[in-house]
Amino acid sequence: MSAMLDTMIPGDADFPAASAIGLHDALTTHDRFAAPYAAITALLPDGFDALSAKDKEAALTDLERQSPAEFNALTVGAYSLYYTHPQVAAVIEALTGHTARPPQPAGHPLEPFDPAMVAVPAARGPLYRPTPEAKDV
């Protein structure tokens, strides 16, 4: 099954391949994602692991076309578990500055709002439409 997941999420110079973070085990044991994973793996053609990279992609493209709902659910599950893995989160932090920790409790710095930035729109006259009852409130 790792061959399928590595076809979907291969490794590169920065990111680990799906198999390198144990994505198969994570999917198999996840309460919501295990079922679509099992559904798609059951549909894989015999000898999938021995196919060339190009033929693996072609086989999965066929599967995605034939079973769109199940393949979509698998993709959501695979991406969800891959991108929340600590090893992948560390790569993203190194590349982008997006911290490899939950959003809370630390958050991110909240810069003060600069009121000067509204100078142009503030100089315009009223844009809202008058009504019979219109008056300043």
Binding site: T7, Y79, Q104, L110, P112, P126, L127
Partner: protein
């Protein structure tokens, strides 16, 4: 026997309960969900983005939590988003908090479409102000797009890198923009509520109480004022006497046992879906087609805010994963009817920040990052490099857009689920296309490297409006101007069901202002109220 029983502890139920209890009413509120502990937010966990896709998904059909009811949405172009808990859907909202414009209450007079509300912006203004004080609003005075008003409680949320970039683009185009009014603390405000720390996923809850919700704003004060709040209580019938006056409600407790609460007044505050469902369930000899449904308008005129979305990708990092996801700046340049357009009424554009890693990969604002050999290269291009403009349109009421009872889906108590039947009309479709062109032009002006548009975001049914509409004429509306059912004098509708028209703006501040106004009318008219004997 209680003075009033309120069904639903969300945005409107919390506001009305607080107001009435402080005036001496004996108030009972029944809520099918429970309390959500602030420290239970998934944003404290590494798997927070998985929670967004599963256990904390805004669609109850996906989330499928025990307190949820399913929604039959097979015939609905827009899918339902709601939450069942103390705080209701404010538990998972983005906290946009605009007021409606004066023209929103007069679409028939001004543009010959929809219907005029039986009240005006001026009637609601003092309630908007009171509600702002209770919820806590960050924003900036001086917006030329809206009437002058009191100063907000706190300064605006900073717009982020993309917000600055888009504001400059709007300035060059000569288009209106302004910092969004939001119910998010930029400074400590309210009882025990801290300041925003710019974390991003407001929709998953806020452990600091900075993002307002009625469980941290109204409810602590309502309970202190004596409101009895019962959670795990699923109401399935509003009971009436032979004259059609409400006598109370029947509900299932958390064990599945039927309970009854007798009340002089019944108030429904379960959103435009749940309230219509309950009214249609509550049949009797006097109301064979559902409570207060003599006009066959209960459940009809369902309105959303059909939304298109345009996303710009910049070559520079915008760090859009930081900051309240839904909140930055907005433009109301195309809000009012313009005779040069091929549609009536208008739309607002709101700038949205971007997603975390999972959201980016799975897709939402941008198409899904394809699997396969190019996966990581595409992820690098888009992650943290985009911003989106929603095109939020005014949805005019149509009878065929409606809530009915599903003929095959039920909740865990066997109660028929609501069914949404909903499609867009040509006016709305033309409006969205105009909005997509406008937003595309704005991103081009801002220097986006590439621009992607979605003509309709299906997962955008967070505003459920109009299914028990307010009006002056009992023959063409369900409630009067005080949110009281024309044919059931001791029945109040407090949520967005009463909206006569939908405007093109997030509705929560208007829903709550209407609930406070309805509560004040009840306090004023208490002695004359016709109740069951």
């Amino acid at each position: 026997m209680t003075d009033i029983v309120i069904v639903g502890a969300g945005a409107s139920g919390g506001a009305a309960a607080w107001r009435l209890a402080r005036a001496g009413f004996k108030v009972t509120c029944l809520e099918q969900g429970g309390w959500v502990a602030p420290d239970a937010t998934p944003s404290l966990r590494p798997d927070w983005e998985i929670a967004r896709q599963t256990t904390h998904h805004p669609n109850p059909n996906v989330r499928a939590a025990p307190q949820d009811y399913p929604v039959d949405d097979t015939d609905a172009a827009i899918k339902p988003f709601l939450y069942n808990a103390v705080g209701g859907s404010t538990i998972l909202w983005g906290a946009h908090f605009p007021r409606f414009r004066p023209s929103d209450f007069r679409t028939k007079t001004l543009d010959g479409v929809g219907d005029d509300w039986p009240i005006s912006y001026e009637d609601l203004a003092p309630y908007y102000a009171e509600n702002d004080r209770m919820m806590g609003v960050s924003g900036l005075s001086g917006d030329p797009g809206n009437p002058p008003r009191e100063a907000r409680q706190m300064p605006p949320v900073p717009p982020g890198k993309a917000g600055v970039r888009m504001a400059q683009a709007f300035d060059r185009l000569g288009w209106h923009w302004w910092p969004a009014d939001v119910a998010i603390n930029t400074q400590p405000y309210g009882e025990g509520r801290g300041a925003c720390n710019n974390c991003g996923p407001c929709d998953l809850g806020c452990p600091h109480g900075a993002r307002s919700a009625t469980d941290v704003s109204y409810w602590p004060q309502a309970i202190a004022a004596g409101v009895r709040l019962i959670t795990g209580a699923r109401v399935f019938d509003v009971e009436t006497d032979a004259q059609g006056r409400a006598t109370g409600v029947a509900w299932y407790d958390h064990t599945g046992t039927v309970q009854r609460t007798k009340a002089a007044v019944v108030a429904l505050a379960s959103n435009g879906l749940g309230t219509a469902r309950l009214m249609l369930l509550s049949t009797s000899k006097r109301f064979p087609n559902g409570l207060a449904n003599d006009t066959d308008l209960v459940g009809r005129r369902l309105m959303h805010h059909p939304t298109g979305m345009v996303t710009g990708r910049f070559t520079e990092a915008m760090d859009g994963w930081a900051g309240p996801f839904a909140v930055s700046i907005l433009s109301q340049e195309f809000y009012e009817t313009d005779p040069t357009h091929d549609f009536v009424r208008g739309y607002q554009m709101q700038l949205i920040r971007s997603d975390g890693p999972v959201g980016t990969a799975v897709g939402g604002y941008l198409p899904r990052v394809p699997w396969g050999a190019g996966h990581h290269a595409r992820f690098r291009e888009v992650f943290g490099h985009s911003a989106s403009l929603t095109v939020t349109t005014e949805d005019l009421p149509r009878l065929e857009n409606r809530v009915t009872l599903s003929d095959h889906l039920t909740d865990s108590n066997g109660i028929p689920a609501p069914k949404m039947t909903y499609s867009l009309d040509d006016n709305t479709k033309r409006m969205i296309q105009h909005g997509i062109k406008s937003a595309t032009r704005a991103f081009a002006e801002a220097g986006a490297a590439d621009i992607t548009a979605q003509s309709l975001v299906a997962d955008a049914g967070f505003h459920l409006l109009g299914t028990a509409c307010m009006g002056a004429d009992p023959g063409s509306s369900v409630t009067d101007s005080n949110s009281r059912a024309h044919t059931v004098p001791n029945l109040l509708i407090l949520d967005g069901s009463v909206f006569t028209t939908a405007a093109a703006l997030n509705p929560t501040s208007t829903i709550q202002a209407l609930a406070l106004r309805a509560a004040d009318a009840l306090i004023r008219d208490r002695a004359e109220m016709q109740v069951a004997s």
